[in-house]
Symmetry: C2
Subunit: 240 residues, 2 copies
């Protein structure tokens, strides 16, 4: 299965052959885009729903003073806001972190998909509810945890989410994020992100080489930062 959306939804429910075919049908030929371009900008009115097939994107908001907050990551299989048409205008931007392959899905295709495949409709519901749960969890992180725990939580979450779409082998995690982007996510400066990562290194928790994070001691990392993946609402207990 090379359709990452199908893979992701399969981790919620069993999809029939017809469901899988319907999911493949909405994709069409992937559209390629370069890193650092915006898929949609704050204030624009969305015309299509975006499905990320390859690469990474993020939701973010830039304030008047230039400070930037990353609000969510989109990884392969993530579909942004299937019902965004109801709103008038975007209240944040979506930008690409890497080169990417996308499918733009029309409103009508979404409606058709959910009308004819109730299992998919339900799985998409699950997916949007999980997105919201992740957002709540990030809020708790920013509000209540210190720098180390925030960064550790991010690594643990990405670990679980990437495994879900088959993008992680062994104990290596390919995370195409600069320390600045990690800082914009967890509301830290690059300097401090660096301090935290140094500490993780010296404590033998992770090693990072060219944007590949090798986690040496996942159980300990999880325990140190109090990570509990239940907010991801993964249905199937997949193997560690």
């Amino acid at each position: 299965m090379d359709n990452p959306l199908a893979l992701k939804l399969s981790s919620f429910t069993d999809l029939s052959g017809g469901d899988l075919a319907a999911l493949d049908a909405v994709i069409g030929t992937p559209i390629l885009r370069d890193a650092h371009s915006d898929l949609i900008q704050d204030g624009e009115r969305p015309e299509k729903v975006i499905l990320l097939l390859r690469g990474w994107a993020c939701r973010y908001k830039v304030l008047e003073d230039g400070s930037k907050q990353i609000i969510a990551y989109l990884v392969p299989g993530d579909l942004c806001d299937p019902h965004v048409f109801i709103l008038d205008a975007m209240d944040h931007s979506i930008g690409l972190l890497t080169d990417a392959a996308l499918a733009f899905i029309s409103r009508d295709a979404i409606i058709h998909l959910t009308d004819c495949c109730p299992k998919i409709a339900r799985a998409l519901w699950w997916s949007t509810l999980v997105d919201e749960a992740v957002l709540r969890h990030w809020l708790v992180n920013l509000g209540q945890r210190d720098a180390f725990d925030r960064v550790a939580h991010l690594f643990c979450e990405l670990w679980d989410r990437l495994r879900q779409v088959g993008l992680k082998e062994d104990d290596e995690l390919e995370v195409p994020l600069t320390q600045e982007q990690i800082g914009d996510t967890m509301a830290l400066t690059t300097v401090h992100v660096n301090r935290v990562i140094q500490r993780m290194r010296t404590e033998g928790l992770v090693s990072i080489k060219r944007k590949k994070i090798r986690v040496h001691d996942l159980p300990r990392l999880r325990e140190l930062c109090g990570y509990d993946p239940s907010y991801l609402h993964l249905r199937r207990r997949s193997q560690l």
Copy 2:
């Protein structure tokens, strides 16, 4: 109109008489509950959807170390998670901040309501999307703004949301929150919340007396903290 849900949804779309009747029908006799009780707790499986008719509630999460983060406020007219049945278990709690009147709505009633009244279905969609937008906005607040701006933003947001359901007269805002709860919301200590409020007072922005906040200079408060209500996606420009 004394149905706050109908009032709130009306700020998104015009509802027919039949729609309004359907919204009234799901309410039944209100259930009264005392302040400080939990409507549902972290880890529980939800059986009903909760509609808040009178009083205030909040979503919150308590960490192992006892620290608490308030994730959202529910005010009259707010309906929590119409599709929460899809998830297995709550990943946070919902607690009452004041005495309250509630309607518990069954899953079937929700399904029936949305099946037979497409305008309501759409308006509920809008409402959940707005809830999510508020959550994103809070994340940006916690990540990028200082204590003063965070508290000011909260006041501005509550102003707009309460006006939407007809709970605000003149320039007075009845907000039944202690400084500790404001702190748990905006990730500040009570001490620092107090300092911020003192500053607002001495600058002539607000005066607070027995949990009623009188805002003397809303335009200036908004400007000082960079408030932009577009994230609330209010359709109708109501009068200030």
